[in-house]
Symmetry: C2
Subunit: 340 residues, 2 copies
């Protein structure tokens, strides 16, 4: 049976272990936290907690270390998010408000998050797939060479070059531009790509070929999900604080190189819930020693991407969760403003 005091003991063990990185014993525990009972009592509680699988003893005469299951209970029942200090809130606001474009928002966020948590931070670039087309611009660099510029509702801009077989005059270009925007502006990109397909049939035959070329490239750019896989990473130097190089740091460093892996780690976090994945709960056995604290961002009904921090299971969960949530909220707000 796990009563309130045992939970207190678990909380104390987690907090101490996170702070010191050393197994914590009964005596040190009652000294550092005012538990109001004797070490012997705590020992009894510890024996029960160990039996239940929440803590673990590296060897017979050592203190206790939380297990993944112990961290899980800690996070679910015990962790009250540390509120951000006023100074931290101000720092977040001023830093992110200074961003000039989308890339800048992402880069500032990831940096900020790693500094706040002193962990490795990851921010996924806003996904294209749920955004709508704001505008398509066609620029004639030469009569047979067009630059296509695709502006999306998230603020992302994609550009592509198209070579035409037949030169295109200004009037034709204006007509094509109007037609393309007519078909796609305000539409989600997947639908827009489809809608564009019908265009070449509606224009004069002599321009059909050029239109087809333009439409093909545009549709390609719209269904190009490369940027869905883009992530920004910051704070790798924070890994240096952790001992245990081979089991904890090296696999994580390797994972950080693989953006696909990172995206899977971030997972499909709900927009308003901070999810915590502890050690073996994650999809990669090599990362059994690392935890992920993540959440989605974007307007409530429209999940644009995820952000979070990764670190050893032995991490400051309340602090990380609070920081992740705070940054996600600010990012959502800023993206929403830029989009109104």
């Amino acid at each position: 049976m796990v009563d309130d005091r045992k939970l207190d003991v678990l909380r104390a063990i987690v907090e101490d272990y996170v702070a010191t990185e050393e197994p914590v014993g009964s005596k040190a525990l009652v000294e550092r936290h005012g538990l109001g009972v004797s070490p012997a009592t705590v020992r009894n509680d510890m024996a029960v907690l160990e039996e239940e699988g929440y803590i673990h003893q590296p060897h017979t005469s050592a203190g206790r270390v939380p297990t993944d299951k112990g961290y899980r209970l800690f996070v679910d029942k015990l962790a009250t998010l540390k509120p951000m200090s006023a100074a931290e809130r101000r720092a977040i606001a001023t830093l992110l408000d200074g961003a000039v474009d989308l890339d800048d928002v992402v880069q500032r966020s990831v940096r900020l998050l790693s500094q706040l948590t002193r962990q490795v931070a990851i921010v996924q670039y806003p996904t294209l797939s749920r955004s709508t087309v704001r505008h398509v611009e066609l620029v004639a660099l030469t009569p047979t060479r067009l630059m296509l510029i695709l502006i999306l509702s998230t603020g992302r801009v994609e550009q592509r070059l198209v070579e035409l077989d037949v030169p295109m005059g200004d009037a034709d270009l204006a007509e094509l531009r109007a037609a393309v925007n007519q078909a796609s502006a305000g539409v989600q990109i997947a639908a827009a790509a489809a809608a564009l397909g019908a265009l070449p049939d509606d224009v004069r035959p002599e321009q059909a070929e050029s239109t087809r070329a333009v439409v093909t490239v545009l549709a390609d750019a719209m269904s190009d999900h490369r940027s869905d896989e883009r992530v920004a990473v910051s704070g790798t130097a924070n890994l240096a604080r952790y001992g245990d190089f081979d089991t904890a740091v090296r696999p994580l460093l390797e994972a950080l190189e693989e953006h696909v892996v990172l995206l899977k780690l971030l997972g499909e976090s709900g927009a308003d819930a901070v999810t915590v994945r502890i050690g073996h709960e994650g999809p990669y056995t090599e990362l059994a020693a690392t935890s992920v604290v993540a959440t989605g961002y974007g307007p409530l009904e429209n999940h644009l991407g995820s952000l979070g921090v990764v670190g050893p299971t032995r991490m400051d969960y309340p602090g990380s969760m609070a920081a992740v949530r705070a940054v996600a909220r600010y990012v959502s707000r800023i993206l929403d403003e830029g989009n109104q």
Copy 2:
């Protein structure tokens, strides 16, 4: 006096030490390389090399380790670049040819370079300051809201939003677009920013205010050297191979977070020469244990940026130099093609 055989001995020491990470003794040396002399002779040579400061003995009864000065001599006199294998050349070509835009070129390059050298690779994004304006596009999102799109010769695209106090009609917009392009197309961005300043005086008074707003933002975007400081980094996981965490890995990880530091490390490498900076030769005392192999890229007369690898002084210089040079050449060629 340092004769040919002593240079051979130095070369052998460097090669063995790089391969094994352990001080190398006289006996192992003659066995592994066919030096054709006895260990005693090698010992005599080593004594001289040590006196001259090219190698160093960690303690009395240990083998020898090259000093920074030793590596320097090795690089200057002894290192013949390892030619890239045909397979490697092909890999470079196919990988980089598949890039769809500028960001993609940079990201593929940095990844490639880190894989080729198994080191940490750094690629600076092409600097804006030497590029010219290819085209400026103005898009009316609403009558009082313009999106400015600045297309540069390197393929970089910058976008900015401008709010107008007075609505602008299509005709006025076309006129402004023409005027802006007239003033800036083909001109280096610094000069273009200056040229734009005179524009508001030349338009009808009722549009002067809007023109001023547009011009201000454009000039700002042109003189915004943020992207000059952007770098891509890849291969940090390769650091895991090195022991010596505190002296070598940690400071480097920290430096990798600071892009300004990285740029200083890459330095102003000439476009056609691979420069090598060994240990203490660099500007940062904390990075005394790391070396940098870098070069510039871009068309011959026009240095666009630098790329290179960083790693411990104990690195494979010939291999790294060859890879850096090869990648820089391919990148230059690709940027040149996209620009013709």
